[in-house]
């Protein structure tokens, strides 16, 4: 039985057993359901083996929504624990595990796939391409990401969750202080998912550089595509640091090396340093696509061309360099001298400038615009003031001397939620609402949508503004409880109520999807929002080849010009279209990676070696495989086009 002991959860509780049962039952229900409705073949042919960027995008979306709920449950548990002094709902160990997984799940397995969903779905459509540059690699990216996500999520029922914070600083994360396999999960699951992210970064950069429609110069790309381009450039330069960092951490934990130890020449602070060399660019990877989405939405519903296109692009290019120049602001208190801290204080404040430029551009776009208050626009309007508040507190934190006071208090927690929730999460939901009709052929209900936006904002303000105050009063982050005499209890109760309201708003989002599936009109045309860029120029639902004829572009808002100024988008006649074949290879490789990761987490070396050979075998197989894709004939295209056009009338 010794062998199986290691899979037991070291610090179990009723909640964990309950989720084991819950997860088990859900799995059985899903498998039975698919079998009962005979959907295995459909799943395999249409989804698991797909290389279509739209479908891969939707799979990313599903993962992101699922993880939003997992992370959300974590969040509510934490807020409930802190809502009263000396609460015993979670003990310290569980609290550690919950805030650790909350952070990782939200950043790496919610926000990242959410933006990748938009990259996948939108980039090829916005630039008038048929797919991404390397469709099969794109599927591989997804499956690596998915398996990393899966591996991470089984940790709390098999072997124990990581508990050293999402930053996983050494020496806390070493074998002595974190003896459970939890931190192994951290090192290896994020590694696998991160590989997927890096591969897709290369894929999107190539797609944007090489596959734009004729006439679409770089400076004629829609703003979302620009933001995606810059974000992916940052991915390609920041993620290798994470890869190396996690590899070194894995070696320290599994093979007894001394990179981050406190003796034998190791340097524990190097972890914090390298983590933020990746970590700060990472927050810009998340926010830039969000900015891109807001730009699209604001231009559409102010019925105006985006103000200051060039300055928007320049500010993003500046951010792409500057985001690599500020990482020390995450550890001003680590012991380096005042000289170093001053340098990084200044660079950090400087990065607020290009961000400010963008805020002003949006305001000038709204100026004299004919504003239409749809749900996506409402989110954007709520975003501007709330995000600005987060930016201002960021600049407060950027002053290194003052940061000795704020660092690792709830003030910091309030800051980053203040930029991430109104910045990233609102953008994701606004973008989802905006593009929903393009993906699924009906709109989400506007009334429920606006209720959701307002509730979420009220909940947000109640949940996070009090943290600024308790933080300044000295409430430390990651502390699992506090005593009555600190006087924090009132404000923490308010936070809990706010978190509850936010939870309700997310439930309302789900209800909205359900409601709209049942009642929304299916007769909405291709362009229900009267929008401006190419993704709205094709049919809804989008055919697999995206555009029957490659569009011709002459401005940043080609579709708007086609509608209002007589620009001709589709010249020429339909020709046969070359498309990639589906393939099971990415999924199989992903599965092998999953087993490999699992074997590594539990140090089951024979299995790790066998799966490693399997991975190499897959790569060799792919190198010799000949697959030239297939052609869609002109007749077939014409038939599809006629059908899609007919569906509208």
């Amino acid at each position: 039985m010794d062998f199986f002991d290691r899979f037991a959860v070291p610090h179990p509780s009723f909640l964990i057993y309950a989720s084991m049962v819950g997860i088990g039952l859900t799995m059985i229900a899903i498998v039975l359901g698919i079998t009962y409705f005979k959907k295995w073949g459909y799943l395999w042919r249409e989804w698991i083996t797909t290389v279509d960027h739209k479908r891969i995008g939707i799979m990313y979306l599903l993962v992101a929504l699922l993880m939003l709920f997992r992370g959300g449950v974590d969040a509510v548990m934490m807020r409930y624990q802190l809502s009263m002094p000396d609460n015993t709902f979670l003990d310290s160990q569980h609290y550690n595990e919950v805030f650790t997984t909350h952070g990782i799940v939200m950043i790496l397995f919610m926000a990242m796939p959410f933006i990748t969903f938009f990259f996948n779905y939108l980039i090829p459509l916005q630039i008038g391409a048929r797919d991404v540059a390397f469709p099969r690699l794109n599927a591989l990216s997804f499956w690596l990401f998915f398996m990393g996500m899966g591996l991470f999520n089984i940790s709390f029922i098999v072997g124990g969750s990581p508990d050293a914070g999402w930053t996983s600083y050494f020496p806390l994360a070493n074998n002595e202080f974190s003896p459970s396999v939890g931190t192994n999960y951290y090192m290896i699951a994020i590694q696998i998912a991160g590989l997927g992210t890096m591969i897709s970064g290369i894929n999107f950069i190539t797609t944007i550089l090489k596959m734009r429609a004729p006439g679409m110069k770089l400076m004629k790309m829609p703003m979302f595509t620009w933001s995606a381009f810059i974000a992916n450039v940052i991915v390609v330069f920041a993620f290798p640091v994470l890869t190396v960092l996690l590899a070194l951490g894995t070696m320290d934990r599994l093979f007894g090396t001394n990179f981050f130890t406190t003796d034998n020449g190791g340097m524990d602070m190097l972890w914090a340093n390298l983590f933020w060399v990746w970590g700060h660019p990472e927050v810009y990877i998340l926010i830039l696509p969000a900015f891109g989405l807001y730009s699209e939405i604001i231009a559409t519903f102010a019925r105006r061309n985006l103000y200051g296109y060039k300055s928007m692009v320049v500010s993003m290019v500046v951010i792409s360099v500057f985001s690599f120049l500020v990482w020390t602001h995450h550890f001003f208190t680590m012991g380096q001298g005042a000289f170093t801290n001053s340098i990084f204080s200044i660079t950090t404040m400087a990065i607020a400038i290009p961000t400010g430029v963008k805020i002003f551009n949006w305001l000038f776009t709204l100026w004299k615009g004919k504003i239409i208050f749809t749900t996506p626009m409402l989110y954007s309007m709520l975003f501007i003031p709330l995000f600005t508040l987060g930016g201002v507190t960021g600049v407060m934190l950027a002053m290194s001397a003052a940061d000795y006071q704020y660092h690792n208090t709830m003030f910091l927690v309030a800051h980053f939620h203040n930029v991430i929730i109104p910045g990233v999460v609102y953008a994701m939901i606004a973008g989802l609402t905006f593009y929903w009709p393009k993906m699924f052929g009906f709109m989400l209900n506007e009334r429920i949508g606006k209720w959701t936006a307002w509730l979420m904002s009220v909940g947000f303000v109640l949940a996070f503004i009090p943290m600024y105050i308790t933080g300044l009063d000295g409430q430390a982050r990651r502390m699992y409880t506090y005593s009555e005499s600190t006087g924090f209890s009132m404000l923490n109760m308010v936070s809990f109520i706010g978190a509850g309201i936010m939870a309700i708003s997310f439930a309302l989002l789900v209800y909205n999807i359900y409601y709209s599936i049942r009642y929304a009109s299916r007769d909405i045309g291709n362009d229900p929002w009267d929008a401006r860029s190419l993704e709205w120029a094709t049919h809804t639902p989008v055919p697999e080849y995206n555009f029957a004829i490659t569009p011709q572009v002459a401005s940043t808002q080609a579709f708007w010009d086609a509608k209002k100024n007589g620009h001709e988008l589709f010249k020429g006649k339909i020709e046969k279209i070359h498309m990639p074949n589906n393939s099971g290879w990415p999924f199989i490789l992903g599965c092998i990676f999953f087993v490999f990761g699992f074997a590594m987490v539990f140090s089951i070396w024979p299995l790790a070696i066998v799966t490693l050979i399997g991975i190499l075998g897959c790569l060799v197989y792919r190198s010799f495989e000949k697959d030239h894709g297939r052609y869609i004939s002109v007749e077939e295209i014409e038939e599809t086009e006629a059908k899609l056009r007919g569906a509208k009338k």
Binding site: L274, V321, F324, T328, Q336, G337, T340
Partner: protein, 93 residues
Amino acid sequence: MKELFPVKQVMGFVFSLILTAVALMVYFTDMSFSIGMTILLVTAFIQAGLQLVVFMHAGETNDKNSIYLNVYYGLIIALITIFGTLLILVWDM
């Protein structure tokens, strides 16, 4: 005949062999650590640049500019990271 003979590549190959030989010297001769490291670093960077330009054809397509831009961007970021880290953890600790 002149166009057919790859002068550039042959010269590149010879040059990279020389660089390798120089680097190997550090192992076989007895010199101070800092001189040895300097030689290794210099030869390594020249070697990498040589490979990129001569054998990986960095400058021979229309993408020349994006390729070099990318390389420079990567170099800048790598240098910032290395020297920033040295500053934080060694020079100003």
